[in-house]
């Protein structure tokens, strides 16, 4: 690598004009990586890298320069160290189901973790599991099921997304309303830092000794290191579960019912809202769940816990829904019926492809008390820009997901979608909300960071990032806008 050092500094997105000049360097890096992971697991031809140019937000296309897929912990460490020696920037990626463009590698190295999918240990006594980062979320719960346990954070993409990606994005999911997000479930992680050091991050339930590195690492969006293994909490399956589907003739009523349930001090396991457009898409799909097609909105409400007292909560939820105008409340009859109701909700995002060829989705969190007002204003903004918004979201958390199916081949429509979503997000921020509940900032929400945070706060974030990754090679160009980072701007030769 020594002989190529002069070219190394130009590797990456800032050097698009000199693409050919560092090609020999890429070739030698590829051959070094091939020696670590095997030639089959290194991709370098542009056609083979094409499919890695998007995550689940396909509006963005950023092609990696090189992709490498380590199969073991040792290979992953060796890959990161090789990239360190080469000073090559990189982006770690799980299953590519993210919704913020966080795992896109813009002309840099992509480290795909999908081959590392061993469940290392399931400990039913300690109620914990240790897994490699490429383990699919739903497969972890499958492995825990024989012990009456499950992994609680359940992103809608749980049938495809990986635990490593969940840790990077601090993923949420419907049941995080009661059980908490990924951060609340990570006990320990082994991480290879961008400089090649392997560190063990641990969190002790009793008292913290030293800084909470798990707290910093979970949700760091691939900017702090590459996860080698994670130890997570497993949650006992509840004694009783009651899943209800309440349908409403107005979105406003459904939003008011949500606020009423939360205000009454009931903590459902999950409280999800799907509006008419979403119901239509789901009911036309293979995951049709029997949601009433003529409803303006449905609430999918799950109450769980010890059998004693469960009925009281169920009765209270039903009463509150009726008071807010629920037309009908259906209760899941058995586990199959319950699974069907949930499949409809969880696959709703994917079903949007039925509505239009392109899809934009946002992830704002707003105060739950203002849900009805904000939804009404969203509808007003959408109507003004003549776009369709399908709402499907974690109502109990106030975590909105406006899905906008549109035809991107129509530049005018695409521009209107952009303008409307920006307006919606700015309105949510103005109402005291924030720009991401679970999808992460990634690339997509970078532009909102300066609206949300002061320069000093962003600068603090930059300094934290630099502590983990002094050379700023891990997931470049994501999360924190570089031009807001004073230290970086002050560095000789810095460019944005």
């Amino acid at each position: 690598m020594n002989g190529t050092k002069g070219r190394i500094e130009r590797f990456g997105p800032s050097c698009v004009n000199s693409a050919t000049s560092y090609f020999p360097f890429v070739t030698s890096l590829a051959s070094e990586l091939s020696q670590i992971v095997g030639a089959r697991h290194v991709l370098q031809r542009p056609t083979e890298l094409l499919v890695y140019q998007s995550d689940a937000l396909p509006g963005y296309h950023k092609r990696p320069r090189l992709a490498v897929f380590p199969g073991t912990r040792d290979e992953a460490i060796a890959v990161v160290r090789a990239l360190h020696r080469a000073q090559a920037p990189y982006v770690p990626r799980g299953a590519g189901t993210g919704l913020s463009g966080g795992a896109l590698a813009d002309d840099v190295v992509l480290i795909g973790m999908q081959r590392m999918r061993r469940i290392i240990a399931v400990d039913p006594v300690r109620r914990a599991a240790t897994v490699e980062p490429g383990v699919v979320n739903a497969n972890l719960t499958k492995a825990a099921t024989p012990f009456g346990l499950h992994y609680a954070p359940d992103p809608s993409s749980q049938s495809a997304c990986t635990i490593g990606g969940n840790v990077a994005e601090n993923a949420g999911g419907p049941h995080c309303l009661k059980y908490g997000v990924t951060l609340n479930h990570v006990l320990a992680a082994t991480v290879v830092l961008p400089g090649g050091d392997v560190v063990q991050l641990e969190r002790h339930s009793e008292s913290e000794t030293g800084y909470d590195l798990i707290g910093a690492y979970v949700g760091s969006e691939g900017c702090f290191g590459v996860t080698l293994d994670v130890t997570v909490k497993l949650t006992p399956n509840p004694e009783g579960i009651c899943t209800m589907l309440a349908d409403f003739t107005s979105v406003d009523d459904a939003a008011r019912a949500t606020s009423a349930i939360v205000a009454a001090g009931i903590l459902p396991a999950a409280l999800e809202l799907l509006d008419h457009g979403t119901i239509e898409a789901v009911e036309s799909s293979i995951y049709a769940a029997g949601y009433p097609r003529d409803a303006a909105a449905v609430l999918l409400i799950e109450v769980d816990g010890a059998l004693a007292g469960l009925d009281d909560d169920v009765t209270a939820v039903q009463r509150l829904c009726r008071e807010c105008g629920a037309r009908e409340i259906r209760t899941a009859t058995d586990a199959t019926d319950r699974a069907r109701l949930w499949q409809g909700r969880k696959k709703a995002f994917g079903a949007m492809g039925r509505v239009a060829p392109h899809l934009a989705v946002q992830d704002a969190v707003v105060p739950r008390t203002k849900l009805a007002t904000i939804l009404a204003r969203n509808a007003e903004i959408a109507a003004r820009h003549r776009i369709t918004v399908c709402n499907v979201f974690h109502a109990g958390d106030g975590n909105l997901h406006p899905n906008v199916p549109y035809n991107g081949n129509d530049p005018d429509e695409a521009a209107r979608v952009h303008a409307a979503l920006r307006e919606i997000m700015e309105m949510c921020i103005a109402e005291g909300g924030t720009i991401t509940g679970e999808h992460g900032v990634g690339l997509d929400k970078l532009g909102f960071m300066e609206t949300l945070f002061t320069g000093d706060t962003l600068d603090a974030m930059c300094r934290l990032r630099t502590a983990w990754d002094p050379e700023r090679r891990a997931n470049p160009g994501k999360v924190v806008p570089m031009h807001s980072c004073r230290e970086w701007l002050a560095a000789p030769g810095a460019h944005t």
Partner: protein, 421 residues
């Protein structure tokens, strides 16, 4: 903010249904080749990107990477039953292969098989030779030698049925008349699994169906369509539509899932042929998997068979035709039969038409996990309703010295009926 997609290219070819893909990735874990190879180029989502790039003109049909990853697709369509947006993946693949067919040559073995299947006299002779060879016992002896020759021998050996299985007879006893049915003979089914075809006829008759013959029927054309030879597939489809129309049958019973899936989709295959499109749609509406007809009739209970059976769903039955419950209803009509769970029984076995002959390494990888799950199930009989799967699993079991055998569900029902009627 979400970036704009590139403007549509003027040279773009249409790829109907591909726009439904929102890249959610829910198909990834359903895909056997993604699970075996760990590269998204070998996943449905990745292949859709490749196919769209080809249709857009951004990627050439001749691109070797694109060809490699499209060729590696089993065509099992498990992604279709995972897809919330209803992307017609199988149709996209066939259309892309059809467009690329003119610009490339298929492997020799594939061309040979497709030619033989499209030529009725040649097919009859080839199957006769195969049966003669099978009767010599040589395939059984060579079934365990390493490599593809051994595997082919094991496939042939696995189609052999005992005298008892070949010579069952009982009289129909249903008092209900359920309509006229013509059965598809099927190239491999009539050629190597004739006892299963007879069992199909007997069990249908025992459940009140009146069997009529569709003379001059041909190969269904599924393999040709999968390989991109759409013109031969259409020619065969037209011949079959005429043959089955002439039979006067209300239903067309198919005991080969791959053939049934293709025949149900004749309407799509001939959509651009104005003289035939309506007839093709009407034909497709009459096609039933044999298990669907049997399940609609009950089916009648048979005599006791004390046997443990695991059911493996053929991809083109479960994913292609979305038929899941009827085969289980057929097995449930057999008193004494214990159905044991088979992990991942909705996943491909690696047979996939002629895939196991043209992509042997990946086929073996996919088969290996199927065999592990079968061993774990402890079942001595694996029921599956497709000749490719019967041979693939049958060969795998023979070669791994397993005691289990693969059987068509109607064979089991037939044996049960022979006990009682």
């Amino acid at each position: 903010m979400t970036a704009l997609p590139p403007a549509a290219r003027s040279a773009a070819l249409p790829l109907p249904g591909s726009d439904n893909c929102v890249h959610c990735g829910f198909c990834l874990q359903a895909c056997p080749t993604y699970l075996a190879l760990d590269d998204e180029n070998d996943s449905p989502r990745g292949r859709i990107v490749i196919m769209k790039a080809i249709a857009d003109g951004a990627l050439s049909f001749d691109d070797t990477d694109a060809q490699l990853h499209l060729d590696r697709c089993l065509g099992c369509r498990a992604c279709e039953t995972a897809c919330p947006s209803g992307v017609p993946y199988g149709q996209l693949l066939e259309l892309t292969r059809e467009r690329g067919a003119a610009r490339r040559t298929l492997p020799v073995v594939a061309r040979l098989i497709l030619f033989v299947f499209s030529n009725a006299p040649l097919l009859a002779v080839s199957m006769w030779k195969a049966r003669v060879f099978r009767a010599t016992g040589i395939p059984s002896l060579l079934a365990r030698i390493p490599g593809r020759l051994g595997f082919a021998m094991a496939m042939l050996a696995s189609t052999r049925r005992s005298a008892a299985g070949r010579n069952r007879s009982y009289s129909p006893r249903s008092s209900v008349a359920r309509g006229k049915v013509a059965t598809l003979d099927g190239c491999v089914m009539e050629g190597l699994f004739a006892p299963v075809n007879r069992a199909t006829e007997r069990t249908l008759a025992a459940n009140g169906y009146m069997l009529v013959k569709a003379e001059s029927q041909r190969c269904c054309g599924a393999l040709h369509a999968h390989a991109g030879d759409a013109s031969t597939a259409r020619e065969l489809a037209r011949a079959n539509i005429a043959a089955f129309e002439a039979s006067g049958a209300e239903f067309i019973a198919v005991n080969s899932a791959g053939c049934g899936a293709a025949m149900k989709e004749y309407g799509h295959l001939l959509a651009g042929d104005s003289a035939w499109s309506e007839r093709a749609r009407a034909f497709g509406a009459k096609v039933r998997d044999v298990s669907e007809l049997l399940a609609a009739a009950g089916p009648a209970q048979g005599g006791t068979l004390d046997v443990k059976v695991a059911y493996d769903a053929p991809c083109h039955l479960l994913h292609g035709q979305r038929v899941s419950a009827p085969p289980l209803a057929v097995l449930a009509a057999i008193p004494g039969l214990e159905l044991v769970p088979l992990t991942d029984n909705d996943q491909c076995c690696g047979s996939a038409g002629i895939y196991n002959l043209v992509e042997p390494e990946i086929s073996d990888l996919v088969l290996a996990s199927k065999l592990r799950n079968i061993a774990a199930s402890g079942a001595p009989v694996i029921a599956t309703g497709n000749p490719g799967c019967l041979m693939q699993i049958g060969a795998g079991l023979l070669r791994s010295n397993g005691v289990a055998q693969s059987r068509h569900p109607v064979e089991l029902l037939d044996a049960s009926y022979a006990q009682r009627i």
